[in-house]
């Protein structure tokens, strides 16, 4: 595999930690989408894994510069390509109610990113074609699938109504579900995983001025993150866990200490003097270590 350059910044990675997905609309060229669609017409099974051997798919989709750059940012160097392909191919109209779930194999706590679940739309998907629904921020929620199956539409849900060639990169445990399809048009939706092979480290596009202590884990910079129950306000819990996830991805989970109150990670970006805020958080951390009775979050 050719070397892949990371494309995400620190802020992008925080957004991913908070929302649990990155959407690239129409990123795959139309010609590739047509090839994929034609292939899936000929191979209409639910697991057309042979497509993973096709050079046009490897080069055109899996290693698309934008997509692979994001994968490289989150999984590190030498990530592995999928070994299994699922096609949630829907031919006839169907009613789909409830059904929220995360996929089998999800590990929630700590919020690890050892693999990414990716959804690729090789064709335009409209609302009547039963787009998949996702719940932003839900990848941070430790909850039993059996107890989420009755939920209906969520205020903050995200529907994959998107043009052909769109790719959605998700944290594996994100909640999702099928929605009702009234159209008679066949809809393909490919789903596959990329795999980490190296320990996590902060080797995406880093900003020398970025400071993990004073960073905004609420998804600031005008791109305030969605979370399950908190749009537009972001509640303390997702902020904490998003920060924990960012530390995990940075390879610094052993340094993750929740300060709470107006300390890290909730409000530190607001301090009047970053140096003083940094001193305050470090002092607290040193005290927690010295007292030895600190309850790790």
């Amino acid at each position: 595999m050719r070397p892949i350059k990371p494309t995400l910044t620190d802020e992008d990675v925080i957004q991913f930690c908070l929302n649990g997905y990155i959407m690239y609309e129409g990123v795959i060229p139309e010609e590739i989408n047509r090839q994929v669609y034609a292939y899936l017409e000929e191979h209409d099974s639910g697991e057309p894994s042979e497509i993973l051997k096709q050079p046009f798919f490897i080069d055109g989709v899996l290693l698309n510069e934008t997509v692979a750059g994001a994968v490289r940012s989150l999984l590190g160097e030498n990530f592995m390509l999928p070994h299994l392909m699922s096609n949630h191919r829907s031919v006839k109209p169907r009613e789909s109610l409830g059904g929220w779930h995360w996929d089998a194999g999800a590990i929630i706590s700590p919020p690890t990113v050892n693999y990414l679940q990716v959804f690729y739309l090789p064709q335009d998907v409209t609302l009547d074609m039963g787009p998949t629904a996702f719940l932003p921020g839900s990848h941070l929620i430790n909850y039993d699938t059996a107890y989420m199956a009755h939920y209906g539409n969520f205020r903050n849900q995200f529907l994959t109504v998107a043009p052909a060639g769109s790719v959605l990169i998700t944290a594996y445990p994100i909640w999702h579900r099928a929605t009702t399809k009234t159209s008679t048009a066949t809809r393909n939706l490919l789903k596959y995983n990329y795999w980490r092979t190296v320990p996590p480290t902060r080797d995406w596009i880093t900003d020398p001025n970025f400071d993990p202590i004073t960073a905004d884990y609420k998804g600031g910079d005008g791109r305030r993150g969605y979370t399950v129950f908190s749009q537009p306000r972001v509640s303390i819990e997702p902020v904490n866990v998003a920060a924990e996830m960012f530390n995990w991805l940075s390879g610094t989970l052993d340094q993750y200490r929740l300060v709470g109150a107006q300390g890290w990670p909730l409000e530190t970006e607001k301090g009047y003097d970053p140096d003083y805020t940094r001193k305050l958080v470090n002092t607290y951390n040193n005290l927690a270590i010295e007292m030895k009775d600190y309850k790790r979050p």
Binding site: G98, S109, S138, N142, Y151, G152, R155, S230, N240, V241
Partner: protein, 125 residues
């Protein structure tokens, strides 16, 4: 005629027009209606951000007249934007959100505040 109620009503009207309606036949008619009455429960589940009745509804589903519904995709079209809106519209609260045991686990990051409401409808088959 599409229900026992309609059928009995028509019978009573016919008897009335013929001058055959008696107090006894009225009693029998009402007994017949009541005996065929069925109770149906409609369920509305609202997920909110807190246990306050004024909290915003973040997810809904409804089971009404034997039909399950996830609610409209667009939350602006939901019938109730706050839990209190549903109560004011006649839905009876039958389960107030309670924290499950897993709430005690600090790793638990989300507990849906789930309000369960019902409406009882009398149906005449």
């Amino acid at each position: 005629m599409n229900s026992a109620f309609d059928r009995v009503l028509e019978t009573c009207i016919t008897k009335l027009e013929r001058g055959e309606l008696t107090s006894e036949s009225l009693r029998e008619a009402f007994k017949e209606i009541i005996s065929e009455k069925k109770i149906k429960q409609s369920i509305l589940v609202l997920l909110a951000g807190s246990t306050s009745l004024y909290s915003t509804v973040h997810s809904m589903f409804m089971y009404e007249n034997g039909v399950l519904s996830d609610g409209p995709v667009d939350s602006k079209e939901w019938p109730y934007q706050k839990v209190s809106d549903a109560i004011d519209d006649g839905w009876r609260l039958i389960q107030f959100p309670t924290p499950p045991a897993i709430f005690l686990d600090q790793k638990q990051r989300f507990v849906p505040c789930e309000f369960v409401l019902e409406k009882i409808v009398e149906v005449y088959p």
